[in-house]
Subunit: 435 residues, 4 copies
């Protein structure tokens, strides 16, 4: 530990020092990770390569991620590639303590992630990670990038680069970049075709709906499901809900997305109208105040409200609290807000990311995260190998890395596909053919 | 208690005498039931009618059902209609002890259902119900009907009739009826359009898939999902899996169902071939030995095996056990059988009904059971009101009862529809119109 | 020709005597039939059997069907099985004269079907068929059965039985049967699982939508498509329209069907409300006056109105005519009715069965009719072989015939499926297995 | 006419001079255009603006497009905006002579498009358009751009810019641009979100399938439909085919697209394997030699082959011709190639773009082209208004134009949507918010 570590958050202890029965937790966490490993062929292939090549030797990787079994496989993969890794959570409710403990047991990994920490502890843990003086940052919501730029600018010189997982994080990084405030290169992992299509569409879609179904024991068939936002996440939620025989209603602010939803056959209307007919409301906008007081006032008794976006600000719970005459836990993970007229509006997982924060939730499916983390892994490798080529700012993932991951996955699935013949390649490159 | 009760299973105690903290259990059970009540408008409407009319005054109703929050609403509805009700489970793994305790707290209800009982206790509990000398039986798998006919034929004279919930139960009752061995009338609730379409298709489909997703943290997108059987349950599972972007493969033994699946766009093949390509296998046949040794031998490493039919005999676990060199819990509710060549076949919930027996499972969605139990409730009323009209044997639910439930549901959902005009009704009844 | 033939409609000439260039017509008709034959493996298998067995030797079969290439294969199959066949159309607009001519060229077939005949000619042609004194009738809309019972009761004694193809025809036959007015046995071919599911669902669904798309050059994506009736035809139209990204709205009069549509995720509302939001209206009820004056008054400019039911009475064109200030052909097969306020309501194919009567329409897809006519063919064989067993009245198609056709089809498609083992068959037949 | 016109293709006559009954053709063409106009609200709104503003006064627009009713509305819109327009076809089989004649009747439009011209006439017509010395080119397949660059480079100085409609055209333009060979700016209309999603996905998908259904009278249900290429067109064809209950098989050369198709639940395999199981083959790659000799050898009797890409080189008809022992017209628009072993492979529309070249085909649905042509129209306006800002080369359509069209469409459809509040806009622009 360096001196500066002592000054920073090093007072905050790793998870292993915070649990009563750390051995039992490690064993349970390891069992969860083994299951994930069984279904993450991409990361397995990448790990094998890393173990051989040790690309991260001498590097320190700081991570703020949802710490559960799947992410743990990325953490381990990076550690086995030679890095010292320090990791904490990126959401107080998404950490699995047992997985965190299993990670912390690895000789090259220190994990500070703990479920249910308060705001102060949350940021202490982030500072504890920063105290390791990372040379690479891996973020899910840009907490590390933000904290380093705001409070530890002296570390920036030593940082090769970073990777950011989420839509929201990338959005904010771009805004930061536009202000010339981003001082090291960060890969916008979220923006790759692989990440967007599989993680956002299939991952968010399937896991959010399954979490809600298992948390509420309610059915989708015949329900009016209002999906706020028709970005990749919204498309996934809408498609999967329709695939469970829900009647999907979409709200949007961007006319082309609104039109796209309309042309898919969904009903499109303002939230003001949707509030009157919806049975379930799912926000996926990445924006704030999507469902607010005027909407709560119009909703039916018994509606469900959940967020599949990022932060817990899409549903205005303060306004709901003000409107309510009573509030109680109707079911694990379901808070009922009772209105003066007797209507009960049921908020799931406190409006936090439902597929991570609901009591019955597991985050994204294993296979989907395998793809997403596969890209993360090769992005970190790329940053180290060719970091000089990247100016400070947000960078798209190089196309060949994204393609590499797809090839690994298809091979693992046993899916074969065609190759261009020379004649075809030549044809695609030429422009001098007539009708 | 009558003398005969003393002789029979009356030694077996109600749940309240078996739990340590019965008060806490009752409170938790009641909270679960309140949530269900909020989403069961049909049963609520029926209950209001029953409370006013007391149709079951003086009757004793014996029930063997999956005892959880939704079923509990049926039990209460019957009790509030004036009956003394005795209830036990119809599957050792599907009982929620807290709900059982909450039911047992009702002055007109005795509940013997307890999770995890062994075979002897299971049948003792059934006998304890029979010891109440029911005048009506309500079954989910015909355990009560079978036990009464086999061991307590002297009670038959006092029994007005019964109702049976499941496909499998009705199938066996019909076989019994064909042998002239069924000595009182039983409504085949399973066979109503309402029950089949909503419970089997939507209920089994959605809840089985959500249970598996939440038990395994795996995704459906791109998976080869093999659905054994294309009856109503199989159709539901296939439709909902396709709606999650799975590639669905159907196995069948009946050519018209096979053809129907083929015309829906699913792949149809024998299990022998499906075993080679499937990622997930779901049995819904109601038959035995659907997946057996020769199939296990061909499966890939990491496949999932689950049952959404009725009994745990669709997947031949004895054969799998014999083939395996190791067997361990890979995850809560997932038993991995390791083959000699290293392949791991993962069996979910011990091959029992997956949407009830998996660790993360809640049975059918609330709304679906509301429909199903609404029919049960009016069937029991019908049996008492017009029991003389029904000969011993299996009876279809009278069409007007089924229709009554649909009308109640549509009204509760606020869905309006058209009525025939007199001219239209006349036209439909006539045959003398030309081109 | 017998004397009685001379007295009846025998004055009406076969198609060959009505066409200018009968040779060209026959050649074109034969080419159409050859294409159909290439895609009708069921009928081909049945025909091979009939050619060998000559089951209809000495019989006279009277038919009133949509005379186009596919039906022609059934007509030929029956003729090649040894029958003398006389055939006419069952709808003035659905006949293909060239196919009619090609049939009439067969030495055992006389075809009277001609497109565009007026009412008098239409019934003359039916009488011409009856003049052949059929021993078997094959109907598509019960025109032959009705005409024989009303006007030629003396023929009934000589009739072994009949087969009826359509929902509407069967409905009317049942009404006739209920009045004890049906004096020979008729198979309700429409009611078989094979016919209903494949013909009504897939056939009507696909062909109606493709006809409308090709007649109007409009898209389904994003359209509000109102489907009146949620029977088998309505389900098919709704499913296929949703599969083209339409937003489907269902109107119904039967609460269980309304609920079923609601649970599928479709919007359900009365026609009164649907009229205000629909872009396309498709009637499939088999009833009359489904879309009437009050609905026309609420519709948007540019809506499409079409009928996929049976008769042209589902849309009240008289009322529409009365409301309109102008009426003109907006496009081949599209009649625009202009309202006083400038709105144009576009009626396709004069409200007749759209997949047969639209200018770009071909009736049901070949493969679907192959199944349907395969059943017709074996039903006619059954009526002759076991006619004594059938009392006058409507009869369901024996299950084994329906199953036989499914087996033939699966074999032709190369689709394999499982068989029950003895143990499984025994299990399904038993009722004495416990949990 | 200038002198240079006289030297160029001016010898080639407009359509009006080539038809026998030009008045009848014009009337019929106008009726088709009126129907299109009724369903093209975007172009109607744009036209109203152009009529007022006359943005194209003094300009000469040269167009090579599929000349049918919808395109005609774009041609008229540009003409009514003040331009002199000369137009010809971009495919010998896609022209509707009556529409061409109706256009030619407009005082500011000269149309050379004629169906069924041979190669020489085709290029003569293109030269005739070029002879008008266009200041703007609008292409569908870059025929005009190519011809001008190759043969009339002297015109380039006078050209403000162009617009290109298709994927294939844009692909070739980019290749040309990469070689620095493109000497004026061209908008890649194909690449806009609006064009890609609606035209390629919905338009190509729906119209190709409906054309094939109506040309063959075959069904999609239960068919193995092989879609070659999973770009936007392929996605549309796959989605719509699955929506008609086909079993969709995708072939691809790009691993991410292959993986995307796999994750959607489609089967992915090389064409070599697909050839053995497919019932229908649809090419959408924009490349050549997608289905070749080795594939033909493996196909089943009766398969259908069609192209929904661009040029007629995706299916290698020369190789098929060589393999065949016979070849005949099985049906209008269907050429059967008979193999030595008796198998018949049926090629639709000579392997040309099926939704334009099949006998029953209408090109894209009206509404879809309304969107596509709306963008074309505002792109041409943009090129004139701000042409100086665009360097020679391929340019993306400015985002605000694309968005403008979406807004017009939503308003026309009566679809309302939300707007960002100030707080939300500020939030989206900021990056300094914590968890």
């Amino acid at each position: 530990m360096t001196e500066s570590e002592a000054e920073r958050g090093s007072a905050y202890p790793p998870i292993s020092e915070q649990l009563d029965d750390v051995e039992a937790a490690r064993e349970e966490g390891r069992r969860k990770m083994d299951w994930a490993a069984q279904h993450m062929p991409i990361l397995e292939a990448v790990r094998e390569e890393f173990v051989d090549d040790q690309p991260f030797e001498g590097e320190r990787i700081g991570m703020a991620m949802h710490v559960e079994a799947k992410t743990a496989m990325l953490v381990e993969t990076l550690a086995e590639g030679g890095a010292e890794v320090a990791v904490t959570g990126c959401n107080p409710l998404s950490t699995h303590d047992d997985v965190s403990a299993a990670l912390d047991a690895h000789e090259s990994i220190t994990s500070y992630a703990k479920r249910g920490v308060d705001d102060e502890e949350y940021y202490d843990a982030i500072e504890a990670v920063i105290a390791h003086e990372p040379t690479i940052t891996v973020d899910d919501g840009m907490d590390l990038v933000a904290a380093i730029h705001e409070d530890y600018p002296e570390l920036i010189d030593g940082i090769v680069g970073g990777a950011e997982e989420t839509t929201t994080g990338v959005h904010r990084l771009r805004a930061m970049d536009d202000d010339d405030a981003l001082e090291y290169p960060v890969f916008a992992v979220n923006d790759t075709p692989m990440k967007r299509l599989f993680d956002n569409v299939h991952g968010t879609g399937e896991s959010s709906l399954a979490s809600i179904a298992m948390t509420t024991n309610l059915s989708w068939a015949g329900k009016n499901v209002v999906v706020a936002g028709f970005g990749y996440c919204g498309k996934g939620v809408a498609k999967k809900a329709a695939g469970q025989n829900a009647n999907v209603i979409v709200t949007e602010v961007e006319p082309r997305r609104a039109l796209e939803a309309h042309m898919e056959g969904y009903e499109v209307m303002p939230m003001d109208e949707a509030a009157e007919v919806g049975d379930v409301f799912l926000t996926t906008t990445g924006n704030r105040d999507v469902i607010v007081e005027e909407h709560f006032e119009k909703m039916d008794d018994g509606v469900l409200l959940a967020n599949a976006g990022h932060f817990d600000i899409e549903i205005d719970l303060d306004a709901l609290e003000d409107l309510a005459v009573d509030r109680y836990e109707a079911r694990d993970g379901v808070e009922a807000y009772e209105m003066e007229d007797g209507r009960r509006l049921n908020v799931i997982a406190e409006g936090r990311l439902v597929n991570l924060a609901a009591p019955i939730s597991l985050g994204h499916p294993v296979e989907v995260m395998d793809q997403s983390f596969g890209i993360q892994a090769v992005c970190v490798r790329e940053m180290l190998e060719n970091g000089d080529e990247y100016e400070p700012g947000v960078h798209e993932v190089p196309d060949e890395l994204d393609r590499e991951i797809a090839e690994i996955k298809l091979e693992a699935e046993g899916v074969e596909y065609d190759s261009l013949t020379d004649t075809q390649r030549e044809y695609m490159d030429s422009w001098d053919h007539g009708t």
